[in-house]
Subunit: 76 residues, 2 copies
DNA sequence: ATGTGACTTGTAGTCCGTG
DNA sequence: ACACGGACTACAAGTCACA
């Protein structure tokens, strides 16, 4: 599992914890709903600017976003 | 200071700690030497796949890479 | 409300150089 | 060793119709 997929997984995790829909989060982040879908599913090679938008929309510091065990290598 | 700039700053920090040249790191990461320059200077909107390449080349887990106080918001 | 394939446009990323 | 620039190609951004 690469970082691209892990990122999507983490976004979904944090989004669901807040009981937000993809649409609502996409709106907060200022990106398209369908684009958010493909991000969460690890289909897109997202750029750092959009990464920042999404993390900001999740209301979590970047540091905390990546402070998860899924970001320690060797995960499936 | 946005995430793009913070990323470059952090890359430079970790690279210099290992006494690697930009060229050497770029080679390890499999990306262009001139591109590494602009990444460190926060000039490029890097994609997550290249982010992963760089972090991997730095021999640090993703989690640790972002476990720095510069990634708590409100930094200059 | 979420997911997918297909598409166009802008830019990421490469490769050649310069100081 | 680092920064920057021009010219090029590959690919991400962004949107849509449809399921």
């Amino acid at each position: 599992m690469n970082l691209q997929e892990l990122f999507g997984k983490r976004v979904r995790e944090l989004r669901q914890k807040q009981e937000l829909s993809q649409e609502a989060l996409a709106f907060k982040a200022g990106i398209d709903r369908t684009y958010m879908t493909s991000i969460e599913n690890g289909k897109r090679n997202v750029s750092i600017q959009n990464i920042e938008k999404v993390i900001t929309a999740l209301d979590v510091p970047v540091k905390d976003f990546f402070a998860s065990d899924i970001f320690i290598e060797g995960k499936k």
